[in-house]
């Protein structure tokens, strides 16, 4: 241990010497380029045709901008729209567009592009999320800087969708090769892309808003968590965008070198139970599972205590969040009573992802105490898990992090792999979408409570947003991971 300390001191000395030498040649005012470590590299750059978090993470807000964006509290803020007005019947949205905005291909941004982009979701997008735009009746240009969207029925969810990738604004002359050449209005544009290694974003000199301070951001991709940690330790990168193994945080404990940011995400780690087949088609068995799991102990063991207990399908950044962890307190005797002395042998088919594997061990041992014997069957993710569990529904228990924002609605679809079937739940969701803001919150609170009462699944924990950065990175490190984008625009490095 002592030797370790000496090495660290020596390393620190070398590092500070290196930094001292480097900064002498650069002017003190200019912020330096930044390198950020990510796990998943985009397969291509077209998030209208390819699923996955990696593309919007890199490009949304940074390269592509929408009319509106989400702030750190989950509230909708203006972006390319200076303001908007909603008609009294909640069906017509009139957006006043910012003037002097141009795309990086030189084309000006006007209401025509809004019409083009919104229509294009229905006509050209390939992803299922495009159905969130089905509620749009028509989108029209009033003048160059005013666009009017009319909905078929009032929908609270629609404007929220416009803050996600669905609302990204595309140039009518910039969609020829979306997979390789993104054209947006954002503060950054694509510099270069070394496939398998990194993507470089460079500052957009003609940006309409506050120009970014960091001239160049390199997104470096690491398949291996240790390699990413080492890169931060050795100065290869400045930021780890998402810590892969919370146990590894100990390496970054020195506050003179590193800062750790911990916040929440939209990711509910769900212990799904197949509501369509025995034994979990029996509500009592599902309730027994919820009582049998000591969630605090599980979080401590499986994810080093990082994360939050939630108890239902709502993260704390949604306005209708309620702490539902008290619904089914840890109670082995109660669980056994609900099972009526019966034992069950079940298959727990999990994706081979670190959090799922770690949590599955704890779930298995805790369920064994009440007489549910789970056999863990790890499946390669995504292909195998998607096929066996998600598509064929051939499982009893599974564990997966559901990362989509405001995704409680997946329980309303009984063909979804939970096979949860309660018409009351669907009615609450429909009523929430068309009601006033207050009615929406009240309905969604009731919906979350219903899910919890029915034990439609068990919510193990809310996935934490864990970022580690070098001490000299300042500005806005996004504390809560609630948007699809990793927003670079406020970062600086001294």
């Amino acid at each position: 241990m002592r030797r370790f300390g000496i090495w660290m001191a020596l390393g620190g000395l070398l590092l500070s010497a290196a930094c001292g030498g480097g900064s002498a040649g650069t002017p003190a005012t200019a912020a330096k380029p930044l390198a950020v470590g990510f796990v998943a590299e985009p397969a291509n750059l077209d998030f209208t045709a390819t699923e996955g978090a990696a593309i919007p993470q890199a490009l949304l807000v940074n390269v592509y901008e929408g009319l509106v964006k989400l702030d750190q509290d989950g509230k909708i803020q203006p972006l390319l729209a200076e303001k908007w007005e909603v008609s009294p019947d909640n069906k017509t949205y009139t957006f006043t567009l910012r003037k002097g905005v141009t795309f990086t291909n030189g084309a000006p941004f006007t209401a025509d592009d809004v019409v083009f982009s919104v229509d294009r979701v229905k006509s050209d997008w390939k992803l299922k999320i495009k159905t969130q735009m089905d509620v749009v009746d028509k989108v029209e240009k009033k003048d160059d800087h005013t666009a009017v969207v009319t909905l078929k029925r009032p929908s609270n969810g629609w404007l929220y969708s416009m803050a996600t990738r669905l609302g990204a604004m595309f140039s009518r002359t910039g969609v020829a090769d979306l997979a390789n050449k993104p054209v947006g209005t954002g503060p950054y544009q694509l510099g270069s892309w070394k496939r398998g290694d990194s993507i470089q974003l460079t500052a957009n000199e003609k940006y309409w808003g506050t120009k970014p301070q960091v001239p160049r951001i390199t997104l470096k991709y690491f398949k291996d968590a240790t390699a990413m940690n080492n890169a931060l330790l050795t100065g290869g990168i400045d930021i780890i965008s998402a810590v892969q193994a919370p146990e590894s945080l100990a390496q970054f404990a020195d506050p003179n070198r590193f800062q750790v940011v911990e916040g929440t995400t939209n990711g509910e780690v769900v212990l799904s139970m197949n509501n369509a087949r025995p034994p979990f088609n029996d509500k009592k068995v599902r309730q027994a599972v919820r009582h049998a799991i000591d969630h605090r102990a599980l979080l401590d063991t499986a994810w080093a205590g990082r994360g939050q207990l939630i108890g239902s399908m709502v993260p704390p950044t949604d306005p209708w969040y309620e702490d539902r962890t008290g619904d089914y307190p840890y109670d082995v005797a109660k669980a056994k009573e609900l099972l009526g002395g019966k034992t069950h042998n079940v298959k727990m088919r999990i994706p081979n992802l670190p959090y799922a594997v770690a949590a599955a061990q704890v779930v298995k041992s805790q369920l064994a105490q009440v007489g549910i014997n789970a056999e863990i069957d790890p499946l390669e993710f995504p292909a195998r898990w998607l096929d066996v569990v998600f598509k064929q529904g051939d499982y009893d228990l599974s564990i997966i992090n559901h990362v989509e924002p405001r995704d409680m609605g997946i329980f309303a679809d009984k063909s979804y792999y939970f096979h949860y079937d309660n018409p009351e739940f669907g009615k609450l969701l429909a009523s929430a979408d068309s009601g006033t803001e207050e009615e929406q919150a009240a309905d969604l609170k009731a919906a979350a409570k219903l899910l919890s009462d029915d034990a439609a699944a068990d919510w193990l924990f809310l996935f934490p947003n864990l970022i580690v950065a070098r001490k000299d990175v300042t500005g806005g490190l996004p504390k809560n991971g609630i948007s699809e984008a990793f927003d670079f625009t406020a970062l600086t490095k001294q």
Partner: protein, 312 residues
């Protein structure tokens, strides 16, 4: 010699064709539909169907196979499902990186193994020779990626002397290029060097017992002189064989080492391709690796024949 060569070429072609069938069949058996993986959890069946049509994965397997193998014969690997760019081009970009890695590792292995193995053979009766043998035993037990992790820990994380990973193209910055490859080369080369040392040692020992070497020494040459003049060429035969076989291991070792050091080579391309079910890409890379191994074996066989005329 010509008859021998013709026979070897025929075997090479037959094995390549067989490999093509096997690789394709294995890909077809791999679970997971590329279109479903690309479109993700929430894709509609219509979208998946449309993508299958676009990619041609809905055609009968035989059609797909003939299409693929026909393309390969003309050097066309097809277009990747996921990135929609030509696979040949992607492989080309990555191949150079992996070859640099493998060849550098091989050079280090030889630099280590030839002197160490010869020394251990000549001094096989004294403690220093035994020590080298013991070291090479340990080296054999260590996989290249573990060596890589240890090297990163010592030279990058603790000493902060070299980068822990990443790759800089030589055109961009030659000095950084060298630094970024030094640790990966060492991880592959030291482990391979340990393996080779044992073969060099036993080959040299073998040769030292031969009659012609005794004759040479009887004619007045010293031990090293006789070995140099008459022994090493003969000792090279088994070593070249092993070297060829090890080249295949080195290639596979490189796949893993690339992941440890975040190097965008063929291994990285292959593992990504598997994860994204970019089947055409995976087929292309695997086929290339198989052909590389077959070619190496072919070259070894031929080199063998050149070194030892009795085998022709």
């Amino acid at each position: 010699m010509i008859a021998y060569l013709a026979k070897r070429v025929a075997v090479l072609l037959a094995s390549t064709a067989t490999a093509g069938v096997v690789v394709f069949a294995f890909m077809a058996l791999l679970p997971g539909d590329p279109a479903e993986v690309a479109l993700g959890v929430n894709a509609t069946p219509e979208a998946v169907e449309a993508l299958r049509g676009q990619w041609g994965t809905d055609r009968p397997p035989l059609t797909q196979f003939l299409d693929w193998i026909g393309g390969l014969a003309t050097g066309d690997f097809g277009v990747s499902y996921v990135t929609s760019s030509p696979i040949g081009q992607q492989i080309g970009e990555r191949l150079g990186v992996t070859l640099t890695l493998v060849l550098g590792g091989m050079v280090i292995a030889l630099i280590v193994a030839v002197p160490a193995g010869t020394f251990a053979a000549v001094h096989h009766r004294n403690p220093l020779g035994a020590l080298i043998s013991a070291f090479s035993q340990v080296g054999i037990a260590v996989p290249a990626f573990l060596a890589g992790i240890l090297l990163v820990f010592v030279f990058a994380v603790q000493a902060q002397a070299l980068p822990s990973g990443g790759y800089v193209p030589p055109a961009e910055n030659p000095s950084m290029w060298f630094q970024s490859l030094l640790l990966p080369w060492l991880s592959l080369g030291l482990v391979q060097g340990a393996v080779l040392t044992r073969y060099v040692r036993s080959a040299v020992l073998e040769v030292m017992r031969e009659d012609y070497l005794r004759t040479a020494r009887a004619k007045g040459r010293g031990r090293m002189g006789a070995l140099w003049r008459h022994g090493l060429r003969n000792a090279a035969i088994p070593v070249v064989t092993v070297l060829g076989l090890q080249l295949a291991t080195l290639l596979i070792g490189a796949v893993v080492v690339e992941r440890v050091f975040v190097i965008p080579g063929l291994g990285d391309l292959l593992l990504n391709g598997v994860a994204q079910r970019d089947l055409l890409l995976v087929q292309g890379v695997v086929m290339l690796l198989v052909v590389a191994v077959l070619l190496v074996n072919f070259v070894v066989d031929v080199a063998y024949a050149v070194l030892d005329p009795r085998l022709r």
